[in-house]
Symmetry: C2
Subunit: 301 residues, 2 copies
């Protein structure tokens, strides 16, 4: 039972087998968001803060924070973004950058135990990211590609993930602190992309006993009604054993589909979280008329 | 690759591994529908007909037809219901009764190759239903309970299903014409109900190589926001290998969740059915302005 524990000063989140699925909110990312990028560059973090609050309110248990803005001082901006986000929400964060100095600045600024996003199996990347992960006692997302790019062969992607997990151990990072991203391909381009990921997740869980994550919305890239695909993909991935994903919790129906999957895998014990979120309100006048009975009924859901 | 072929005079539906999931519409059933029961008893089939049309329009590839009305002439009503339904829709039917005479009257009236719903492993039931299935060259739903009732132990339910498949072979019915219902328990009462079904479906597929079905909405009995649970349950069951289910295709989001699962299992090749149903309409004025280009764009989806 692999458990990856990520924390903020006041909250601990466990990504793990037998745990509720962890949704990592993806919104705080200036890539493809021109207005947000310009604001962050100018030191205006109001949208970052409101995006953080909205995602947590929608159900995200963690947030990914990325400050990849061309020609900007990414380390400084990422660190400040993390401070601002930690000031308004209490969930643990995933520190997301492809620039090592930004990761380090982010880890330095972060209060708690972070998830570093990410290393690949590229030698140069592992050599720089893994010591940092160890130094800050963080966990790390391992993306299953290497110098040769992303393989379409799931067996190759499995072997690459295995290589990262082994290399991490050389640096003193336990397998339970490596969260593998098996890489989700667009189903519109590769018809077998869904089955590939489900098989890979099952195998990573069974053979490497590691937690998994992914950029879930990739699956529906380029086809219509993307939410419809994403909202079925997540329950299926969870059924195959995936334990976390980077998602937009504000997308219609997404959080509900994940919570339902938690009920169905019995990781939402006694449907407690489900009932808390979706119990029907008492009928008109029932609470007033029923008094204690009305309240009791609501508690039962 | 087990294939159960069901047909009407003009349509053939294959329940099978590697085939799109088959949704069997459940609405034509007077159980719990007082008005419908009264109408059917009086020979008024207008609601039966409109329910048939609506379910097929919503996406059901087959319809279940049940005429279980207390103190009524079930064989005659079931036969007439089948005739009326076949007159307004062209999908194959599932003939549903616990009364052997009604099944026989239904099979006699039905045009095509029917799915008989159902036999259990109760000796008396198998002895009466299976010869009928053979006589009419039908397929049959095998519900995994016996004289001792429904076991909470999935291993017992597997053994019971196996017993029915073997007995069916004694009567000359091939395993591919037995569609096993592993029995879906309410998740609100049995926390492991989801995992149980997913495991059973995988096992039935791997070891007995049979198709599977279930009354899907049972899973959410007694808990709030049932559609939310059902719409995650179906993709997860499909991911585990389930090949058909008895559902209400008019329920919000249900058909979409099944179609998305078909995309993700690669049983909707090139997302063709998905794109057909969910492609975005051309933007205002685009078709008119674009002429041939507008049409081409739409065709591409």
């Amino acid at each position: 039972m692999s458990k990856t524990v990520i924390s903020s000063p006041s909250k601990e989140v466990t990504i793990g087998f037998g745990e509720p699925f962890v949704m990592i909110g993806e919104r705080i990312n200036p890539t493809g968001r021109k207005i947000l990028a310009a604001e962050m560059k100018q030191g205006d973090y109001s949208r970052v803060e409101s995006d953080a609050i909205a995602q947590v309110a929608a159900g995200a248990q963690m947030l990914d924070v990325n400050a990849g803005i061309p020609l900007a001082d990414e380390p400084a901006i990422l660190a400040e973004t993390i401070r601002r986000v930690q000031a308004v929400v209490d969930v643990p964060l995933c520190i997301d950058s492809s620039i090592i100095e930004a990761l380090e600045a982010g880890l330095e600024a972060y209060q708690g135990r972070a998830l570093v996003n990410s290393t690949t199996a590229e030698e140069e990347v592992m050599e720089r990211v893994l010591p940092l992960v160890k130094k800050y006692d963080a966990a790390v997302v391992a993306i299953s590609n290497d110098e040769t790019g992303i393989s379409e062969d799931p067996d190759v992607r499995f072997e690459i993930a295995k290589r990262i997990v082994e290399r991490a151990q050389d640096y003193g990072i336990k397998p339970e602190d490596v969260v593998v991203d098996p890489l989700v391909m667009p189903i519109g381009a590769i018809g077998g992309a869904g089955n590939q990921v489900f098989d890979l997740v099952r195998r990573l869980r069974r053979e490497l006993k590691v937690n998994t994550t992914c950029g879930a919305s990739n699956i529906s890239f380029g086809i219509p009604n993307r939410h419809g695909i994403n909202n079925a993909f997540l329950p299926m991935a969870i059924g195959a054993g995936m334990t976390s994903a980077i998602v937009n919790p504000l997308h219609d129906g997404l959080v509900q589909s994940v919570r339902a999957a938690d009920v169905l895998t019995n990781n939402d014990k006694n449907c407690e979280n489900w009932i808390l979120n979706y119990r029907e309100p008492p009928k008109e006048g029932e609470a007033a008329a029923g008094g204690r009975e009305g309240r009791r009924r609501r508690r039962r859901g």
